[in-house]
C-alpha cells in the first residue's frame, strides 16, 4: 500500500506492508513499526523497541521521533494544499500570514518588481511581528490588505506574477 504525505511542501512516499513494514522508493531501508493494544507505536530495531508518537487529526498527522516533530499532510484528492497552516505554502506566487493576526505594515506596492526574500508585509500576531517575504522574484499583482486589517491564514496577503 503506497501512502503519500506532504512535509514542508515536499511530497514524500512510503510503501507500507501488513500495516507495519515500511519501505521507501528512493532509500534502501525498511522500518518496522508496531502498534500496541494500548494504542501506542513502537519502532523495532533488533532487541530494542522504542516508542514513537503520532496523532492523526483531520488530514494532518503529527509525529514525534526522539523529540523531533514532524507534521505530515495527507494530500487531498483535488490536488489542494501543501501544508495545513499558512495557506498554500507550496505556491510561491501567493504570500500568506503564518498565523491569524493584524497587518502592522504594508511594504509592497502593486506593480513593484521584487527579488526573492524581499520584505512584503508585516503581520503582528501574539505580540510578535512576522515579516512575510517573497519566495521568488516577481511582480506584485495584488495587495489584498491594508494596515490594521485582521488577517487569517487562508487568504493570500500579497499575490505575485513570478519572473520567467
Amino acid at each position: 500500500m503506497i501512502y503519500e504525505f506532504v512535509h514542508n511542501g515536499e511530497l514524500k512516499t512510503v510503501d507500507l506492508k501488513d500495516n507495519r513494514i515500511a519501505t521507501f522508493p528512493d532509500v534502501n531501508k525498511a522500518v518496522e513499526i508496531d502498534c500496541s493494544p494500548d494504542g501506542r507505536f513502537y519502532l523495532h530495531n533488533g532487541d530494542a523497541r522504542s516508542e514513537v508518537h503520532a496523532v492523526v487529526s483531520g488530514d494532518t498527522i503529527f509525529v514525534d521521533i526522539n523529540s523531533v516533530l514532524y507534521e505530515f499532510t495527507i494530500p487531498s484528492q483535488d490536488g489542494g494544499k501543501g501544508t495545513s497552516g499558512g495557506g498554500d505554502m507550496a505556491d510561491p506566487s501567493k504570500v500568506y500570514a503564518p498565523m491569524p493576526g493584524k497587518v502592522v505594515k504594508v511594504i509592497a506596492v502593486e506593480g513593484d518588481e521584487v527579488e526573492a526574500k524581499a520584505q512584503l508585509i508585516i503581520v503582528e500576531a501574539m505580540k510578535m511581528e512576522h515579516i512575510c517575504i517573497a519566495k521568488a522574484k516577481g511582480k506584485v499583482t495584488a495587495v489584498n490588505f491594508k494596515e490594521g486589517d485582521q488577517v487569517d491564514t487562508e487568504t493570500p496577503l500579497i499575490e505575485l506574477e513570478l519572473a520567467e
Binding site: V56, V63, Y70
Partner: protein, 506 residues
Amino acid sequence: MPELFKKVLVANRGEIAVRVLRACRTLGIKTVSVYSTADRYAVHTLMADECYEIGPPPPLESYLCIDKIIDAAKKAGADAIHPGYGFLAENAAFSQACIDNNLVFIGPSPESIQLMGNKVESRKKMVNAGVPLIPGMKDAGESIEQFRKAADKAGYPVLIKAAAGGGGKGMRVVHKQEELETAVDGAKREAKSAFGDDTVYLEKYITDPRHIEFQVFADSHGNAVHVFERECSIQRRHQKIVEESPSIAVTPELRKKMGEAAVEVVKAANYVNAGTVEFLLDTSGKFYFLEMNTRIQVEHPITEEVAGVDLVAEQLRVASGFPLSKQFKNLSQRGHAIEVRIYAEDAGNNFMPSIGKILLYQEPTGPGVRIDSGVRHNSEVGIDYDPIMAKLICWGEDRDTARARMVKALSEYKILGLRHSIKYLSDIVAHEKFGSGETYTDFIERNFSDWSDGVDENMEMALATAAVANALVKPDHVASGNGDMGSRDYNPWLTIGSWRIGEKIK
C-alpha cells in the same frame, strides 16, 4: 496575631495561576479565578472554588482590566488578590486600587512598584545605597576629554553607545585609550545616520556577562533576606528559557557579597514581599545592579527546590501580616536545580509562536522532576497570550545529575499538535558548553545560531510512523492488516479515550 486570608483571587492565567491556586489550597485558603472568554475551560479557571468571567480574549479587555478584577474580588468576597507575573503584577495603579477597595495586594506597596518601575529613579536610589551599577557617564558626553575621564574611571574596555540607539548601531567597544577618539567619532557618525541624532555616551563594557539574580523576601516587620541566586543567562529574543540555581560562577564569598547587596536594595526600597534583584556579573567577579522585579518570577521554582521553601505560600503568609517563617531564617542550599520553559513556538523558525490544540500531552515523572503547567490534553493554545505551556524543573544532588535528569525528562515529555521547544531545550542542556558552565548571555548566538532539529535524520521513521497511524485510523485498511492487528476488533487511535468503535450503547 495575624490571620491567614480566607479567600484569595488570582488575577492571572496559565501555569502561574495554577501555581498560586495550589499554594492557596495547600494553606486552606478558598480560591477565586478570573477568565477571559478564551479561557472559559482553561485549567486555571476550573481549578478554583469560584470563577468569574472578565471579558473577551484581548488582555486589555480582560486580564488588564483593573475594574473588572476588583469587581470580581468584591463579588466573591475575597480578602486579597495575587497578581502572578506579567499582566498587572507590576502595576502600581492596580496595587493602589486594591488598597482603595480594602483588598490586600499580594506583593509590594504601590510606592515600591513605582520606584522600581522608574529605571532612572531606582538607579539613583541604588547609587546612594551603595549598590554597584555599571560605571559610566550619567548623561551624554560632549568633549573627548569627558569621554577620556569617564573611560579612565570605568576602566577599559568601555562601550560607546548611541543615546537614541538600538540594534548595535552607533556602538563601539574600546579596549585602549588611544582608540577612544576614533571610536567616539565613528559612533557619532553612525548614530547620526541611523537615528538622526549623534548623541553618544560611555559605559563600562562587560566581557562575557552572566545574568545573575537574587531572590529576596521581606516581611512587614522589618525582616529581609535573600534566598540565594539564580543564573538566567540563556536567553532567546531577550527572554529567559533556561535557568539554574546555584550559578556555577558564584563562589560562597561572592554569594555573600551579592546577597548582601540584594538585601541592601530591598531595604533601600522599603520593599515588602517577594522580589528579585537582577545583576550582571563579569568574568572578574564584579557585579552590577540592573533592576529589581517586584513580583514572583517565572523561574522561582528552582529557588524553591534548592532552598526547600515555598515562595508563593510565603507570599500569602507575609501579605497576611505574618513575619517571615522559620524556614526563611535558617536558609541553606542543597543540590542543583534547572528550569526550562516549554513554549508553544517554532525554535527552527525564529521562535515563531505556534498555536493549536494539544492533541497528545504526556508529562515526565519520577525523582527530581517537577512540572508547573497550565495546559493539559486537549487544551487550546491561542493567539492572545504568552505561549508558555509549562515549566519543567529538575533537581539533582549536583549540577550534572540535574542536567542528566533534565535531558531524560525532556525525552519523556511529549506534546503533539503544535510546535514547541522541547528538542531545542534538550540540545541546550546537553550542550558541552552548557556542561562546562560557559553560560554567558550570548550563549544562544554563540552556540545555536545554526541550530536545526535534524528533521531529515529520522525522516524514514517518521514517514513509517505516519503511514501506520494513517492505516490504522482507516477501518478498511485495518481489515486488510496483518494477523496481529486484524484479529482484534480494535483501532488504537479510536480507543484512546476509552471509546471502542463498533461498540454501541443500546
